[in-house]
């Protein structure tokens, strides 16, 4: 009998269940640092968003009177914490933004500093970089463009405004993170003119095309391109010996001030990664501007030490607008632009060849004039994965 019981018992012992999950959650306490001069009574109500970068979900809370906020059960992972707050002072609206990377692998007690953003007369309205496929399945990115809009109620002049591209594609830690008051760029192209030649009506925009042609119809184009850029205002034309870039005479060229990795044509990263800014660089003409640029060179030596590359740093105060485009959420940790220029980041999640772009949200339309949202936080200000619609304002 004992033997029988032993056999039966050994059969039952064979089966043992898995234990229930031993999962963790942590408290995240954040203090929003509004600065010493900020009125105490206005610290309540700032929205703090905790964004899980791997799973792409967010949780929100608002600050109390002390500027504190608490998230009680946060799953472990990598988060970005952003603060956005608008403030009316002396009949003007100011936007306060802050962003910080938070690693939650235990209880977190941290502070986010916010910066007051400046409102710019010009904003980047649309940036199309992803490109598309050709009928034969090849990639096509010659139809990339940047659209800059006048976000004021007065005529603004765009000549003298430069387009800048940050030195890094944001795939690793920012090499220039210790430079706080400037951004380091590898490309500067400027709208030609003396400051009174390129008027932009209130709410309207100009197109800076990589190639100013109707990409759908032109023999050099791609019938699957989503855009016709034959009516672009300016194009990026690289005048080099082999003439590999086509110069479309109907569209005036931008002035090339800096192109560190000079190639056959200007090309933005089709997967995202080009952090873009527009700036008014000091100088009344091309010569003075280039003199300024040449005085602001910074160098970077390759890992092997065999070569040194020179870039240019442009002070934050000259930057009118900036948008930090990342390749995907996972790379958003490699922040390049300082918070006062862009407290967030944006992307085309559809990826390269998707024919999609990022577009600034419309804040309101006043008497037919479109006013775009400009909180200096591209995460909030831009629509992602939208169809390119150059010069369509709605």
């Amino acid at each position: 009998m004992k033997r029988v019981l032993f056999v039966i018992a050994s059969f039952l012992i064979l089966g043992s269940c898995l234990k229930e999950p031993d999962y963790h959650s942590y408290k995240v306490d954040m203090m929003v640092d509004f600065g010493d001069e900020f009125p105490q009574e206005k610290k309540a109500g700032a929205k703090v968003v905790l964004f899980n970068q791997a799973k792409a979900y967010k949780v929100e809370a608002v600050t109390d009177q002390q500027g504190k906020v608490q998230f009680s059960t946060v799953e472990p992972g990598f988060y970005s914490a952003t603060v956005s707050y608008s403030l009316v002072q002396e009949e003007s609206v100011y936007y306060l933004n802050g962003i910080k990377s938070i690693h939650v692998f235990g209880a977190v007690n941290d502070t986010i500093k916010v910066f007051k953003g400046r409102l710019s007369p010009f904003v980047i309205k649309e940036f199309y970089f992803s490109g598309c496929n050709t009928p034969s399945g090849k990639g096509y990115s010659a139809d990339q463009y940047i659209e800059i809009a006048n976000n004021t109620d007065e005529i603004q002049y765009a000549d003298g405004i430069s387009v800048l591209e940050h030195e890094s594609y944001g795939t690793g830690a920012n090499f220039w993170a210790n430079i706080k008051d400037a951004i380091v760029v590898k490309m500067i192209w400027t709208i030609p003119g003396d400051g009174r030649q390129v008027p932009v009506l209130p709410g309207k925009s100009i197109i800076l095309a990589r190639n100013g042609m109707n990409h759908r119809d032109d023999p050099n184009g791609n019938p699957l391109s989503p855009v016709n850029l034959g009516n672009a205002d300016f194009e990026f034309y690289v005048d080099e010996e082999k003439k590999r870039d086509i110069d479309f005479p109907a569209v005036p060229n931008l002035e090339e001030d800096l192109f560190v990795y000079r190639g056959a044509d200007v090309a933005f990263h089709v997967s995202g990664g080009s952090a873009l800014a527009i700036a008014k660089i000091p100088g009344n003409n091309e010569l003075e501007r280039k003199q300024y640029i040449n005085s602001k060179l910074v160098s970077k030596t390759s890992v092997s030490g065999s070569n040194t590359t020179y870039f240019v740093k442009i002070a934050n105060k000259y930057v009118l607008d900036a948008v930090e485009v990342v390749q995907d959420e996972a790379r958003s940790v490699y922040k390049r632009f300082p918070q006062e220029l862009d407290a967030g980041y944006t992307l085309v999640a559809s990826g390269s060849r998707s024919g999609k772009c990022i577009r600034r949200k419309v804040y309101t339309v006043v008497q037919g004039r479109t006013i775009y949202q400009d909180t200096n936080n591209s995460t909030q200000d831009f629509l992602k994965d939208v169809d390119p619609r150059p010069k369509i304002y709605e």
Partner: protein, 525 residues
């Protein structure tokens, strides 16, 4: 592991087919009289509990029947009472063969199956077999898909005595195939599944004691593409009830790999016409899930392995038999527990090493998903045989209790249900001078005992998928069914020709139906 594409698979299948035909032709030895009838394979299944024990050495304990069969089949099931992960209709054609043989003291079994099927009006699945991958399913929400499948299965068992007290055995099965959809986003699934299990059986007087080990490997490679130019689709990676992440893309790649280890113990006591077989089978599995995108438009530089599913599958079964020669009474009691634990890895894409290549770096892991399925079953069976020891009728009645609960932590989602199923069937063979006919009447009724679903939010996938799936799983139904088969003897080489048809109809309490029909024709010899 790489899986051969369809072109190579057809060569493999042709080789297997030729091998099978050779085996079957060899089996048709005119000098050996092999008593068979329409119900022979059913008799082996019902009357040989050792065959269901999982121990290949138990093949030698089967009744002295060595039939072979080849058949062609057509199966259709249709209508709206189905899982949301399945299509409205599924129709398949198959060719199969199986054969039991005894050469000297060695027992052999071999089977081969080829099937081609089309599943239509499928809405939420890019997995070939959603039950296999649950909860880590991969779906899109573009509905009205159609899944084309082509699969080959091969199984073999060998058992032989080592001495008068000890038998050894080895079983092997191998399944390989492809499944593909014809509408964007269109997955192509390549599936490989194989199991190998050696076993020993010790005999001493009235006792038999067996033990076996099992190793299984499963691999499903899903390559999703979008043919339409400049179009992206949203792909959802499910993590648990109501929890998912998603990506808009024109391509996606997922790889499931599962290793399974386990073993079983069996003991039989036999005294006179009474016997009792108790067996327990335990398997532990580890499934990994790798995600990524293809090179040309890759946003993720490296494939990401962000989840793991640990599983436990335990069956304990007792079969009590009274063999009175012409009548065999059998009482079966079974407990089946399946337990799963899902772990997610917390990762970040980083540049590492001198090459500056990006890799997903794991910073931690969190156990997030848990499920427990318990099935308890009690079944009575009466098998009646004729003077040639061939089955002429079979009565079955059983009660099955099943309970399932699953939880996801943060956000805390859980669901639970339990069902009770009663099933009965009666199979009878009618012998005529030149032919025989078998009929089977079937009836089953399921009752939901309790259910609770607690999923956070009213997101699209909860509304369209998890909610309806829960309704399906907890819905009561009744199902009558009938099988008819007709057999005529043949004069040369082959023994008997048969045609068989099955019809089952499911009617749920909320008014939905499902019809299952199958037709097969073939030879028994």
């Amino acid at each position: 592991m790489s899986i051969p594409g369809p072109k190579y698979m057809s060569k493999i299948s042709l080789s297997i087919l030729l091998f099978q035909i050779c085996l079957i032709a060899g089996a048709a030895d005119p000098d050996i009289v092999k008593p068979t009838n329409l119900l022979t394979f059913k008799q082996i299944e019902a009357g040989s509990p050792w065959l269901q024990s999982g121990n290949a050495a138990g093949l030698a304990q089967m009744q002295q029947l060595f039939p072979a069969e080849i058949k062609l089949g057509f199966n259709l099931n249709d209508d709206d009472f189905h899982s949301v992960f399945k299509g409205k209709s599924n129709q398949s054609f198959d060719f199969s063969s199986q054969s039991f043989r005894k050469i000297n003291k060695t027992y052999l079994f071999g089977s081969f199956n080829y099937s081609k099927s089309v599943e239509k009006e499928l809405n939420f699945s890019n997995n070939n077999d959603p039950a296999m991958n649950y909860p880590y399913l991969f779906i899109d929400t573009i509905g009205n898909d159609s899944y084309d499948r082509e699969f080959f299965k091969l199984a073999a068992i060998i058992s032989s005595p080592v001495n008068s007290k000890l038998n050894w055995g080895l079983s092997f099965d191998y399944k390989v195939g492809t499944a593909s959809q014809n509408r964007d986003p269109r997955p192509e699934n390549k599936v490989l599944q194989t199991t190998v299990s050696p076993g020993l059986l010790f005999k001493a007087n009235r006792f038999k004691l067996g033990a076996n080990l099992t190793y299984g490997y499963y691999n499903e490679d899903i390559d999703v593409s979008v043919v339409e130019e400049n179009a992206q689709h949203t792909m959802f990676q499910l993590h648990g009830p109501g929890v998912f992440t998603y990506h808009a893309s024109s391509s996606f790649y997922r790889l499931y790999q599962q290793q399974q280890f386990g073993g079983g113990l069996q003991t039989e006591y036999k005294s006179g016409n009474i016997s009792n077989l108790l067996h327990s089978d335990y398997k532990y599995s580890v499934q990994t899930i790798d995600d990524g995108r293809r090179g040309g438009i890759a946003l993720w530089a490296a494939t990401r392995n962000d989840a793991r599913l640990d599983g436990m599958d335990w069956i304990v079964k007792d079969v009590f038999s009274i063999d009175k020669g012409a009548k065999v009474h059998q009482l079966k009691a079974m407990l089946h527990v399946v337990n799963k634990l899902g772990t997610e890895f917390i990762q970040r894409l980083e540049k590492v090493g001198a090459t500056d290549l990006e890799h997903w770096i794991t910073y931690g892991e969190e156990q997030k998903y848990y499920s427990l399925r318990t099935n308890a079953e009690l079944n009575y069976q009466l098998l009646v045989k004729d003077e040639d020891n061939l089955m002429k009728s079979l009565f079955n009645a059983g009660l099955k209790y099943s309970a399932f609960s699953e939880k996801y932590y943060l956000p805390n989602n859980d669901q639970h249900y339990s069902n009770l199923l009663f099933a009965a069937s009666y199979l009878k063979l009618f012998i005529f001078p030149r032919s025989s006919v078998s009929t089977e009447m079937k009836f089953s009724y399921q009752l939901n005992l309790d259910n609770k679903q607690n999923l956070a939010g009213t997101i699209f996938l909860v509304e369209k998928m998890y909610g309806p799936e829960f309704n399906f799983l907890t819905e009561g139904f009744l199902s009558p069914g009938i099988s008819l088969a007709y057999q005529v003897p043949l004069q040369k080489t082959f023994d008997k020709y048969f045609i068989k048809t099955d019809f089952d109809w499911f009617h749920s309490m909320d008014g939905r139906n499902r019809t299952m029909f199958s037709f097969s024709t073939g030879l028994i010899f």
